[in-house]
């Protein structure tokens, strides 16, 4: 019973982090049609910005997290506006450009901060203990922040003109433009939002896990996995898949052990894709 509860708590906590990451990734794919190889790099950048803000500028951690989200958002905005936008309809070029951004970010971080992991501790320690359960406070705080951020993203996407326009551009760019939407203004904002989410996750999660220049690689792989499982471009699908992946990872980790757990996750995802190739919430639409 104890291990079951532990697996659920770990799974939901992981799911929240994955959801935040995957939302950004799927937003960029869904709206711009771009597979963003720099997503893991922006996650790492967020971690380093928060770490530098806390350790070098003595800024309180919550403000540092916000600064990390804003800084990565600004990088994303500038990259889309001045680089990606020029080649937005050339899929190969966008792949190369986002890969280039990732290499620039990771090399820049390597040169600036070194190859070793840096010290970055979560400011809150302790745990809630009870009969048969143990919940680290840091996990709870990260989960709560992730859920708040996910809620805010949903409100933005489903209750505002910006969100409606972003989804319309994702569905049919030419027709959306003919309704008065301006892609060259909305695309950089969407990229900034997605980059900010990656940076926010990095700032929240790296103090719990670790912070080193290479930690973005598995993040990119997980984002891919979640987004494909949820249904490419599906915002709801990515959220559901993120929690599913988090729970599968936690349960298989607890009951099967590290490497077997990872293997189990990939097998389950593979089977899901064979049974339902469009992903969990892939689009089903009707013609005339």
């Amino acid at each position: 019973m104890d291990s079951l509860l532990a697996a659920v708590i770990i799974g939901v906590s992981l799911g929240g982090q994955y959801a935040l990451l995957a939302l950004g990734f799927t937003l960029i794919f869904g709206i711009l049609g771009v597979v963003n190889f720099a997503h893991g790099g922006l996650y790492v950048l967020g971690g380093y910005v928060a770490q530098a803000a806390v350790s070098k500028l003595a800024i309180p951690y919550p403000v540092a997290v916000l600064a990390a989200a804003l800084a990565t958002g600004a990088v994303g905005y500038a990259f889309e506006r001045f680089v990606l936008e020029r080649r937005i309809d050339d899929h190969l070029a966008t792949l190369m450009l986002t890969l280039g951004l990732y290499l620039m970010l990771s090399t820049g971080i390597l040169v600036t901060f070194g190859a070793e992991s840096v010290q970055f501790a979560f400011p809150v320690t302790g745990a809630i203990r009870g009969n048969g359960y143990y919940i680290p406070l840091e996990n709870l705080i990260v989960l709560a922040t992730c859920l708040l951020a996910i809620g805010a993203v949903y409100l933005l996407l489903f209750r505002t003109d910006f969100g409606r326009a972003s989804r319309a551009l994702a569905d049919h760019r030419a027709v959306a433009t003919a309704q008065g939407m301006r892609p060259h203004q909305l695309f950089p904002l969407a990229f900034a939002l997605a980059s900010g989410l990656a940076g926010l996750t990095g700032a929240l999660v790296t103090p719990i896990l670790s912070l080193a220049p290479h930690v973005g690689d598995p993040v990119l792989a997980t984002s891919f996995l979640v987004v494909i499982l949820g249904g490419l471009g599906s915002i709801g699908g990515a959220t559901v898949a993120a929690f599913l992946v988090g729970l599968i990872e936690a349960f298989s980790g607890v009951y099967l052990g590290g490497s077997k757990g990872a293997l189990a996750l990939f097998i389950i995802v593979l089977v899901m894709l064979v049974v339902r190739p469009s992903g969990l919430l892939g689009r089903e639409t009707r013609g005339a």
């Binding site: 049919h172 027709v175 008065g180 089903e284 005339a288």
Partner: protein, 230 residues
């Protein structure tokens, strides 16, 4: 209101429109008829700015449209309902309609939505349903309402009857009549000339990217009959 002069559109080396000129006056409904590939949709797309022109002018309310972007043309008061409807399939019916009034302010959007619901009860009945799950006729209503949500002064309808059953053609015709009663100026294309001509004041017959004939709806009907368009 709309004046097109000597318009040329080329796709690669192929001329899609050649020396096309037409005009639409305030309150009129003007119909473009012609076979597949005649250039009807190219003309509509050139007016809204979805395809670039290679010569000629398009003036809307005395403003030259050619140099300005597609989004700016829409914001200048042109509503557009594309061929094949092209609703945003993953979005709800309400969100689809509100997209037509993007950036116009929440209050104006909701007022327009209420007005459109009074004309098209389907918008209220299916408000939360993803538009991609509607039938073709229902999607056409959504596309019409989306084009009307910004309260445009000129409405471009590209083949509104395409692929629809007779019952839906009748319903869409009634919806267009309602818009006409409210003073909306309409430029529409249609291969199904017979029901469309009942709605039009004037018309043009297009063939191979050129306008071949122009006249009143009655004249166009007679010409179209002679040229086997009907």
């Amino acid at each position: 209101m709309l004046k097109v002069d000597n318009l040329h559109v080329r796709y690669g080396g192929i001329g899609a429109l050649r020396d096309v000129s037409l005009n639409v006056a305030v309150g009129e409904t003007v119909l473009l008829i012609g076979a597949n590939g005649a250039g009807k949709s190219s003309l509509i797309n050139a007016i809204i700015g979805l395809v670039p022109t290679s010569g000629g002018t398009i003036r809307f309310n005395e403003r030259e449209l050619v140099p300005i972007s597609c989004a700016e043309r829409a914001r200048s008061g042109i509503g557009y309902s594309p061929e094949g409807r092209c609703v945003f399939p993953s979005m709800s019916v309400t969100d689809n309609v509100l997209c037509g009034a993007f950036g116009r302010g929440r209050k104006r959007q909701l007022q327009a939505l209420d007005w459109l619901k009074s004309i098209f009860p389907l918008l209220a009945d299916r408000a939360g349903q993803p538009a991609g799950q509607l039938s073709g006729g229902e999607q056409q209503i959504v596309a019409l309402a989306r084009a009307m949500c910004s309260l445009p002064t000129l409405l471009l309808l590209d083949e509104p009857f395409l692929g629809l059953a007779p019952i839906w053609i009748s319903r869409i015709s009634n919806a267009i009549r309602e818009l006409q009663r409210r003073g909306t100026t309409i430029l529409m294309t249609e291969q199904m000339a017979r029901p469309a001509l009942k709605l039009a004041n004037r018309g043009y017959i297009m063939r191979s990217g050129e306008i071949r004939r122009a006249g009143t709806a009655v004249e166009i009907r007679d010409l179209a009959l002679a040229e086997e368009y009907l």
